[in-house]
């Protein structure tokens, strides 16, 4: 039996008096894709931040392929295979699309950075795969739409060669065509056994991309199971959908 890519046990995160994550536990199997849904402020992004090591959890365990990673830095965790996109894109403002991807492709070894040049073919390949056109490649972030910036986030996340991808609102601000392209890309990666945890308000776009779902509110899991059962769950409907 293979070790699970991601295991969260009793995760708690408190900010002063506010409990953002309230005893959350779940895990992901290899190749599984889980949707993470909930209203704004429910604590979804906070979970991502703890997995990536941007916040240190107050208590609880996070395991990547069976090893506890709480002591590891963010770059170290990325090297183990987990990577995420950010709800507010944070590209390198003075770099072109290609150069932005280049940073993601770089090995964390100074020797290699100096002796090996950039793999421009791979940079182009990644940029095109998320939906950029040839003309876009030399554009800088100030020339890109929000949708383009999200695509760039996606490309940069893929560049680090992860086996687990945490996607945070990667569809927001995209046109239907752009959503379609990213969705196809995600499906392709799923068929190659990539593990996904996807946060999205766009439930219609989310449904075909996930095997199951977890619903969160006030930092707690309020429903877990198949996508259909979760979105029809009464508690979920009240909190999230307002019905």
């Amino acid at each position: 039996m293979m070790t699970k890519p991601l295991t969260i046990k009793n995760l708690v995160k408190k900010f002063g008096g506010l409990t953002a994550t309230d005893d959350i536990s779940f895990d992901l199997n290899e190749g599984q894709s889980t949707g993470l849904i909930g209203p704004n402020g429910a604590g979804k992004t906070t979970i991502f931040s703890q997995i990536m090591g941007e916040y240190r959890q107050t208590s609880g365990k996070i395991e990547l392929y069976g090893s506890e990673i709480s002591k590891l830095s963010t770059p170290a965790r990325i090297r183990l295979g987990v990577s995420r996109t950010y709800q507010v894109p944070r590209p390198f403002a003075e770099f072109t699309v290609l150069e932005n991807v280049r940073v993601g492709l770089m090995p964390d070894s100074i020797w290699k950075m100096i002796t090996e040049g950039p793999n421009v073919d791979r940079e182009i390949e990644l940029a095109l795969s998320v939906g950029f056109s040839e003309n876009d490649l030399r554009r800088t972030p100030d020339e890109l739409s929000m949708g383009d910036l999200r695509k760039l986030e996606m490309a940069r996340t893929m560049a680090t060669n992860p086996s687990i991808m945490l996607l945070d609102e990667v569809f927001a601000g995209l046109t239907v065509g752009e959503i379609d392209q990213i969705a196809k890309l995600i499906q392709k990666m799923r068929s190659e056994n990539m593990t996904f945890l996807i946060v999205s308000h766009d439930l219609k776009a989310l449904e075909p991309l996930v095997d199951d779902a977890i619903a969160i509110n006030y930092g707690k899991i309020i429903a877990q199971g198949s996508f259909a059962s979760v979105i029809s769950d009464k508690a979920v409907r009240t909190s999230y959908l307002g019905t």
Binding site: P75, R90, F95, V103, M106, I110, T115, G117
Partner: protein, 318 residues
Amino acid sequence: MGLGLRWYHFVLWAGFIAIMALMPEFVSKGTLRTIIFANFLAIFAISWDVLSGRTGYISFGHPFLIGIGAYTTAILTKRFDVPVEYAIPTAVIMTMVGGTIMFLPALRIKGSYFALVSLAFMELIYQLVQVIRPDLTGGTRGMSGLVTLTRGAVNGYYLSVTLMIIVALCMWLLMRTRLGTALSAIGMNEESVKGSGLSPTKLKLFAFMTSAFVAGLGGAFYVHYLGSIAPRALFDINFVFTIIVATLIGGASTIVGPMFGAFFLTFLLEYLRPYLPGAERYLIYGVIALLLYMYQPKGLYHIVMTQLDRFKKRADDD
């Protein structure tokens, strides 16, 4: 290595080296001496640029690094009769080691703190040097009568220009690798660099040690050119200021920018000397620097490049 070198890079560098090599034929001894100072300032400016030009970790303490290199070789050659060939490499290593120990705590913190700490360290080393073992360091007055490597303006020129060109070429090539890209990324968004799987601390440390290497090398050779060392001149805020302004005017992060900035500044100061002999010169070029920096923080290099780009575009359109 992916350096992206084109034919015009080779031409420009070759042309530059040729001009510098033939310089003594064209100019007076006095001008040569000025160029020697410009060469050393260029080395210091390049050293600063390696660390601070891209990463946003502004160092106000470069005299501190230069000083370690200078004092180490001075003390070794004068007090312990160590031959220069051994003293200088030792000085460089000491600069890298000593500087790293001092700055390691500061590198882990964000850029603004680093700037503060570097300024504080420079001031405090200035105090220390005058006080700790003045028998070795020469105290407040410094040391004189040190071994000089060359005799005469022409030889001094060739030594300094060779050193400067080697340093400039190496650093320029280094910054064209992906390392340069990574360091620039740190300056843009350090958190995002972590999110790309790279550890900024390692990169900053490497940049710092490279910067220290060049600073120590420059400091050591400079001291053996001058034949003396004085803490007053070395740890002066004006010196920090000169290095930083040279880099900024030329164009930070470009390596060649600081090199030309150093020349520009040295000659500007020399030109102003008969009119404003004292520290008032700094007023003029401080104002120029401030205005230029606020107008175009990327410096003359960027201004030149933008003009060339426009030229190219117009040529393409025809």
